[in-house]
């Protein structure tokens, strides 16, 4: 939709501005929502819109609209100019980004997925539910399939002119057998041909069946092996906060002042990879037109970098430390995907935790008294500035004793309370196989192996 952004840039020239930027986005979303063995609803939406950022003497004005008429364009340019003129300058704003060479990134957009008809998505849902019932008709299956297609065009007065399009499909299924057993399965893909609609349901059914006969657990400290789903929750909701340069600047990040220091066990290497071939959040450029990249955040336990956008990398760069945008300036709105309706903010893409050397079985074998945690729930920071968090087990959780899984644990039967910065230093093993997970309401993905942490605080909460 370069016509819209070109028109905005033309209209902006009529005003006395120092810099200008036009941004267009279009999203298509299909959601098939399943509840207790039935497709509860099929939903589709299309949203597109345009926004403009105008800079007048270091003051930024922003306005957006879903109306794509010349009249609406005139109105938002005039409004953005008025806002910029009305404000006092922001001395921390240095510049919009300048053009960088953007390497092609193939595989982020799939025509077939973009054109997927809703009937076919419904068929995926039916297949998925049927596959679950074939495993065990007494299990209840709920979940959703989401098909997302996003496109954008960004033009700025410093020479950026970038377009990008990406697609992905993901399914998340919860399997429940009464209140005693719960399992989860997820599957996702950037293209239609690799999507396996029945995989999530079969995995959910399998983990649910393994969880039947769950018991409670005594409070105390245990070695906990976090599975990929729970690592995704902890990374998305707790760790990403510490790695955000704007949170560092605000004094929120528990990693403030730790750059170059040891923040985790030397077995942990974590990156944000906006160009991971299988990462569902992979894109060619961010929403400022800066190319995405692989950014090593923690290498062998040492904090190497933060997630940056243009504003904060400019603001925090000094003679001591130079920051550069890591291509993480994204605009997200009410629905998953890019959105014209907000200014860019720092957001992760695909977190990738480097695999270790041990098979999962070996991690279990080396555990004297521990818990294998599949899915956790409502993982929230108690105090985000120090990285303390609290979460409960939602399913697929097992008690380990003397190197073997002894029995499943009841869903919602315990709570893990700990400090993430301390937990990172107590990592004692990382498995050699990684899986991609997406959390509810999440906008990034996490590709993670199983991670074993020693001495994690568990409190008892089983229903009396």
């Amino acid at each position: 939709m370069s016509n819209a952004t070109d028109t905005i840039m033309e209209l902006a020239k009529k005003y006395n501005v120092d810099q200008s930027e036009a941004y267009y986005s279009k999203n298509k979303l299909i959601t098939i929502r399943m509840a207790v063995n039935e497709i509860a609803e099929a939903k589709s939406l299309v949203t597109e819109g345009i926004s403009v950022r105008l800079i007048v003497a270091n003051s930024i004005g922003f306005a957006s609209s879903t109306e794509l008429t010349r009249e609406a364009f005139k109105k938002i340019v005039e409004t953005a100019y008025h806002i910029a003129k009305s404000k006092k300058p922001d001395p921390d704003f240095k510049s919009l980004p300048t053009p960088k060479r953007v390497e092609e990134f193939k595989g982020s957009f799939d025509e077939e997925l973009n054109d997927l008809e809703v009937e076919e998505a419904v068929k995926y849902g039916s297949l998925s539910l049927r596959a679950g019932k074939e495993v065990d008709p007494k299990i209840d299956f709920s979940g959703s399939i989401n098909v997302i297609s996003e496109e954008c065009n960004i033009v700025n007065s410093l020479g950026i002119d970038a377009s990008d399009a990406s697609t992905f499909i993901y399914s998340s299924i919860t399997a429940e057998k009464g209140e005693e057993a719960s399992g989860i399965g997820q599957t996702c893909s950037k293209n239609k041909k690799d999507f396996e609609p029945v995989k999530a349901t079969r995995d959910a059914a399998e983990t649910c069946l393994k969880s039947v006969g769950g018991r409670g657990i005594k409070p105390g400290r245990y070695d906990v092996i976090f599975g990929p789903d729970s690592c995704a929750e902890l990374t998305e909701y707790i760790l990403s906060y510490g790695l955000d340069l704007s949170a560092v600047e605000a004094g929120f990040s528990y990693f403030r002042g730790k750059l170059g220091g040891e923040v985790a066990s030397d077995s942990l290497t974590l990156s944000d990879d906006g160009r991971h071939p299988e990462g569902i959040a992979s894109k060619k450029v961010d929403d400022e037109g800066v190319p995405t990249q692989r950014t090593e955040l923690i290498k062998n336990g040492v904090l190497r970098n933060f997630l940056c956008d243009t504003y904060y990398s400019n603001k925090l760069s000094s003679s001591v430390r130079e920051f550069e945008s890591t291509g993480n300036g994204f605009r997200f709105g009410a629905i998953p995907g890019r959105s014209h309706s907000s200014v860019p903010r720092i957001q992760p893409t695909n977190f990738v935790i480097k695999e270790g050397r041990d098979p999962l079985d070996e991690l279990i074998e080396n555990t004297k008294k521990g818990i294998l945690v599949g899915r956790i729930w409502y993982t929230y920071p108690i105090n985000p500035t120090v990285g303390e968090f609290s979460t409960t087990n939602r399913g697929n959780t097992f008690y380990i004793e003397e190197g073997a899984i002894k029995y499943p644990l009841l869903p919602n039967s315990f709570r893990i309370n700990d400090s993430l910065p301390k937990l990172l230093k107590r990592i004692s093993g990382i498995s050699k196989e990684a899986t991609q997970s997406v959390v509810w309401g999440g906008i990034s993905s996490c590709i993670s192996p199983h991670i074993k942490v020693q001495n994690v605080e568990v409190t008892y909460s089983k229903e009396d």
Partner: protein, 477 residues
């Protein structure tokens, strides 16, 4: 213009029925929002946004279909028609084998509900709003060297919504929302604490005349600085008194959410979760001091409105009556299943989303205790103030909620400030321990309640009076 729109929607609804739907409804919305934000005494962001679109919902063959798209002026009639056609197509594509959705009957209302406000936020110049925010964040950052970050923001939102259904309902409801936010971050050594306050609700800029951001800014800074210098909260089972703001998050997380009927029947099983209240209607659940209601008819709070997004009038709903479970929040669909009347709680975040059962203004009813009376007789206890961050299990049974601040209570008197307290427990045990409810109810704005797939964040009101019980308090690790 309004009548032209009604005519266009009417034709689209007819088309939906002709295509085989049993029921169709359409929401046409125009939303304008403005955000003004300042950080550290400097203007940070000002933005303005217009959203204009249609969401159509169709029930066909016992299944729901929903389609949303944006309106473009010259082709509005085609877009509304296409949204309805798509919704019917989606519903028909589902073809469920067993359960067929049916709707409880409601009277199709025709009404025009104008926004209630004293001062239109559009009438306040952007410069003036930015000056408020800049002055407020400047006072916070300059309050003490321990304050490392400050921010202040004003959000205003105006929505004009036209709801029409194939049963004959035609409701136009307009609403204005204004929120003001203050935030202070203090850092000292390894300790880092924040204090924030959100004010406002449904109504105009008068909310920010009553609670002046600039006047209150230094209180926020003072709190953050005091907290970062305070000793940690203890880890101990203690008599606790909760203030009204802590009661608001408690009423939201462990009283409001489990009262949603879609959780009861498993419609949120994979995402927001289920409810441990399932099958317990009529049972004694909690202390007989506890009465919990939802009431969207109260004016001015963030969960206030006249009609929900199914055209059902707002009501006062009793969930817990003197400790007994009485009723849930219902849609037309769940009301049919439970054989009760729908109670007007279906709301969508915007035209882009299908409506869901939502809290309205959900709160603990006031009692007759004075705060000083609650303190009496406590040898050692703790007063938890303000809500910070909750973590609740998927059935809303066990919970952990952090408070902004805590004061020790010794021999019936408030004592020193402590930082980073959390209250942990099970709903059953903690809410059964409540032995005193204050006479000082306050309802707070909660602007971001997450539910659904794709997730929608909804504006609700939550609150309560001071409450006293016994709970497990934990300090920082």
């Amino acid at each position: 213009m309004f009548f032209l729109m009604i005519d266009i929607i009417g034709k689209a609804l007819e088309r939906g029925l002709k295509l085989g739907a049993n029921y169709v409804d359409v929401r046409v919305e125009k939303q304008q929002s403005e955000l003004v934000m300042s950080e550290d005494g400097k203007p940070k962001e000002a933005s303005f946004s217009i959203e204009d679109g249609v969401g159509a919902r169709a029930l066909a063959g016992g299944s729901w279909g929903f389609s949303a798209m944006q309106l473009k002026e010259e082709t509005e009639n085609q877009i509304i028609l296409r949204a309805v056609e798509d919704a019917v197509k989606l519903a028909k594509a589902v073809k469920n084998s067993s359960s067929k959705i049916e709707l409880a009957e409601v009277k199709p209302f025709k009404d025009v509900v104008k926004a209630k406000f004293k001062i239109d936020p559009k009438g306040i110049a952007l410069e003036e709003k930015m000056n408020f925010c800049t002055e407020a964040s400047d006072r916070i950052i300059k309050y003490d060297p321990a304050v490392k970050k400050s921010s202040s923001a004003i959000v205003s939102l105006s929505t004009d919504k036209t709801f029409s259904s194939s049963e004959g309902a035609v409701i136009q409801e307009s609403q204005i929302v204004v929120l003001g936010i203050l935030h202070a971050q203090a850092v000292e050594g390894n300790a880092s604490e924040y204090y924030s306050h959100t004010t406002g609700g449904v109504g105009g800029f008068e909310a920010l005349k009553e609670y002046d951001l600039v006047e209150h800014s230094e209180e926020i800074a003072e709190k953050a600085v005091a907290l970062v210098k305070a000793p940690p909260a203890p880890t101990k089972k203690l008599p606790v008194i909760l203030d009204q703001e802590f009661a608001s998050i408690l009423s939201h997380e462990i009283l409001g959410h489990p009262s949603e009927a879609d959780r009861i029947i498993g419609k949120e099983a994979a995402w927001a979760g289920r409810s441990w209240w399932n099958g317990k209607t009529g049972e004694k659940m909690f202390s007989d001091k506890l009465t919990v209601v939802s009431d969207a008819t109260l004016g001015g709070y963030l969960g206030s409105f006249k009609y929900d997004d199914e055209g059902v009038p707002a009501k006062r709903i009793v969930h817990i009556d003197k400790g007994f479970l009485r009723g849930f929040l219902h849609s037309r669909e769940t009301a049919k299943i439970f054989n009760v009347e729908p109670n007007g709680t279906m709301r969508a975040m915007s035209y882009l989303f299908a409506p869901l059962i939502r809290m309205t203004n959900t709160y603990v009813e006031k009692g007759d205790w004075k705060f000083d009376e609650m303190l009496e007789g406590i040898k050692e206890g703790i007063y938890l103030k303000g809500e910070k961050i909750p973590s609740i299990d998927s059935r809303r049974y066990n919970f952990q909620i952090s408070a902004k601040e805590a004061y020790m209570i010794y021999n019936g008197e408030l004592s020193e400030l402590r930082r980073s307290p959390t209250l942990t427990g099970t709903s059953k045990e903690f809410l059964s321990s409540i032995d005193a409810i204050g006479d000082d109810l306050i309802i707070f704005p909660i602007p971001n309640c997450g539910k659904g797939e794709p997730m929608q964040t909804m504006r609700v009101g939550n609150g309560g009076p001071h409450m006293r019980g016994i709970g497990m308090v934990t300090g920082p690790r």
